[in-house]
Subunit: 259 residues, 2 copies
DNA sequence: CGAATCCTTGAACACCTTCAACAGGGGTGG
DNA sequence: CCACCCCTGTTGAAGGTGTTCAAGGATTCG
């Protein structure tokens, strides 16, 4: 199998010792910078599946980095329906969409046991007067988020159900790969319903396409466990959308994460 | 009629004298800060309809603020098709999606005669060491962009054609309103094809729905010129999507601009 | 073991797309 | 100034893709 969970529950690991270091905020910072950043980060007890990191409408105070586990973010419409806006893996930041306002526009909920680093935003602001690399880096991350959303947007408006699911699975693969996990097999921490919601498809459609992909030998799936058997076919299925004329290191979707 | 074009061609207007001041970057800056920002801004000759501000793949050097006219941004897929990612009105920034990378991920093209302020990013970076409000403000703008994309995403995945077009027209209305123009009538600077592309709909569908809305008395449209006759019905048509449990001042779509 | 939830599968239907033809400006050139 | 053309926009009819509705099967957890 694969290892989607770190073997040790990290509770007091410093940024400098964190294996996610390069995926997270501290890129381009030296040891003393790291120590300072470390000083403002709050490490809370891990969230259990279903628990909330923050809820829509709550005052915005902090952004969060996922250290282990996974989190989904979603908006509740006034009629009570959910709209999943993203899935967040270790090394990814949470709450960036709140920076422009006073309150969180979405809710963040753990899909499985997950530990987060909380980074109080006002302290981050005071910090970047002494660490010039910090705002630049945060903007890079926000820029990636923008790219991600635009890619997803394109997926939604120009692709059919097969292409969407293929791109989604490849994107997850890439993100797991970056974190040192297998790109060929992984466990989905989110339900079919979440996937469908995220991709703008009915659950039934997601299910049908999983079956179809399996019948065609592109992948094997059994409940949460997915093996990508024919990456090439999958990439072909994902369509011309991805390996575009894109500037930099776009593997299957832009450097920005799709979910 | 309405006034979508400033009467004077602005060529050497200082930030402090710019009527778009509050929509643009300089929010929360004092006179001396403004002067400094002013010093790095480059004002080029206006773009003619069809001219490019920058093209996908070009090195990222600057972000741009639209001063007058309108601009569309789009991605070219490898098979040569266009994907419109946004429309930009006066006071809105351009090129934020390039901050995370080395090159522009999209192309920006004038929909009509348009003048832009070019803001070299490296100079902006040096500037924000002396103007702490600057990175904060830029992040707010980027955060809005993220919110905008997420809203649009929701529109794409959960709404039908009528809801999309209604939300789109209301969003434009709101953005014109903020700039002091009429919220009830305006000229579309983009083609039906661009609208359809942007909303993930076929041109024919856009056309049909315009006709349907007109037949129902919701609006009147003739070529580019649109009058919103029944805002309430239009809002109802746009659906529960917008006036959500949203945190702050969400008029019809979040404070973030939809296009 | 039973209940609840998640996932799968089938069939009918709705919505939008595609294909096709035509209308109407706006510009150019005669 | 008018004729012509091209491009954009409109309208109609057929077809496809995904949704909805409905039911059954599988897994998990109390």
């Amino acid at each position: 199998m694969q290892k989607n969970e770190p073997s040790v529950l990290p509770h007091k690991v410093a940024c400098s010792d964190c294996t996610l270091f390069q995926l997270c905020l501290p890129v381009g910072m030296d040891a003393s910078d790291l120590a300072r950043l470390d000083g403002i980060i709050q490490r809370r007890r891990p969230l259990q599946r279903g628990e909330f990191a923050f809820r829509m409408g709550e005052d915005f105070h902090s952004i969060y980095a996922v250290r282990s586990g996974s989190v989904k973010t979603f908006i509740l419409t006034e009629d009570g329906r959910e709209q999943v806006t993203g899935f967040h893996l270790p090394g990814e930041l949470l709450g960036l969409d709140a920076i422009s306002g006073e309150a969180h526009p979405c809710t963040a909920r753990a899909l499985e046991t997950a530990s987060l680093c909380e980074i109080p935003f006002d302290q981050l602001e005071t910090l970047w007067t002494v660490i010039p690399a910090l705002p630049r880096q945060l903007m890079r991350v926000m820029g990636k988020e923008i790219l991600h959303d635009q890619t997803l947007l394109m997926l939604m408006s120009k692709s059919n159900a097969e292409e969407r699911l293929a791109a989604y699975l490849l994107n997850l693969s890439m993100r797991f790969g970056r974190r040192g996990y297998s790109v060929r097999e992984y466990n989905l921490s989110m339900s079919r319903s979440d996937i469908g919601n995220y991709l703008g498809l009915a659950v039934e459609t997601v299910s049908r396409i999983f079956t179809r992909f399996q019948d065609e030998g592109v992948l094997s799936v059994q409940r949460k466990y997915v093996q990508l058997l024919d990456m090439e076919r999958l990439k072909a299925l994902a369509g011309a959308l991805d390996h575009g004329t894109a500037p930099t290191a776009f593997s299957c979707l832009p450097a920005a994460d799709l979910g």
